[in-house]
Amino acid sequence: MLELIERFDFFSAVWMTVKLTLWAALGSLILGTFIAVLRLSPIKVLQWAGSTYVTVFRNTPLTVVVVAANLVIWNQLGLEVAARNATYLDDTNFRLAILALVAYHAAFVCEAIRSGVNTIPVGQAEAARSIGLTFGQNLRHIILPQAFRGAVTPLGNVLIALTKNTTVVTAIGVAQVSHAMRRMIEFRSDVLFTVFGLVALTFIVLTLPLGILTGWASEKLAVKR
């Protein structure tokens, strides 16, 4: 097994999965919050833009989003996401994969935050308005801080799903865990069960602490009412 890990560079594949997860988590938290704000805003067009975004990305398979990132953004639109150097193509595919993961999971982050907003009693917003806070101030000081604390569980679920969903970017050849798994099995079909065990264990190790942490944080951070 150690020989397998070494020959197929399994640890760098795991590191790639972790990198993809971290960058995509950061990105989708920012984009998802932005879209949630759009959906809560008083402007009809912005509400519509936000809800359309969520409908589209929630109903599109991630595989499509990943392939489209390469095919449309890089190939057709010709947008550059990496410098033209010796690792241009690897960098491009890595960053496009993150972009696809961010675009897809932002829709779920948005929904998680909205469910967090739903946990806030009406009186909070009304009190904020009555002391003269504007919509922006209201969001920044009253709504969003409480929404995040109420949305810890669904946000944690999105993070766990995101970790597992990084496997899909094998479709554009990013060398993370599922890519390593395919290569291992294609060259060494005799160790199929070992490889599966190894990969399953990797994901259990990656997601189990996240689940426990989420449970702990949601209790710790819950707004006492």
Binding site: P42, P61, A68, L71, S178, F196
Partner: protein, 286 residues
Amino acid sequence: MSAQAILFDAPGPKTRQRHLIWTALGSLFVFGVAAGVLWILWDKGQITPDKWAPIFTFAAWKQYFVPGIQATLVAALVAIVASFALGLILAMGRMSDLRVLRIICTVVIEFFRAVPVLIMMLFVFFMLVYTFRMRGGTAPFLGVVVGLICYNGAVIAEVVRNGVASLPKGQREAGLSIGLSSSEVRRMILVPQALTAMMPTLVSQVVVILKDTALGYIILYPELLNSVRQMGSRFGNMTVAFTAGAVAFIFLNWCISKVAEWLERRLQRRGHTAGRIAEAEPGDVD
């Protein structure tokens, strides 16, 4: 706090003006991006009859869309039925009075929830091909279906368990007091009501299953995405073909989501359950 209007006062004349400006800016941005994308695609020769006409021909539908959608739906349907069955069994097991059974079911559920669907699919597919030497198109099909069943069965089991937990305690106590055993109470009183209460969530899970059939693209199950890939090769319009595939998926899933929302409303009006009706839009992902 779902009522939007609570976040802001009814706008006065000045605010209305400001909103108008924001509306204009917002529209400008949205349409600007859309126009920019269309302009570049036009420039690259993607918006031409050559690229688009083939997907509206009878041949394209007969050879690519219809078989592709059919394969997607068949895999999804089999997976849905089987994962509901597995979900119920696992849920019953996890709530059982037998300690051993409870532990086994808990471990199984947590394992299947932790392993990514794609990894499960790859494993089943390669196992069928290499270990059981399975031939033809059965291995990709079973790979997709079994992968989906394992994950979604575990998720559904948890949904059912949460549904049971959300029922008022009196339901169980009443059942016990009329002389039912605790497993009879679960089977005849708690689980049926939990299913009704969680119905919108369960229907939303159908969207997840349908979407995940697209992972079959990677193990070459001839589902919609694979058939549009072949179509793109034949007509030389890969971008258009994938766009059409995406639209088809969005449409199918949107229909199912609408059913879930309709169910939620209907059940809230007249659901035969003591539990709270779940929301049709769970924070659940992938």
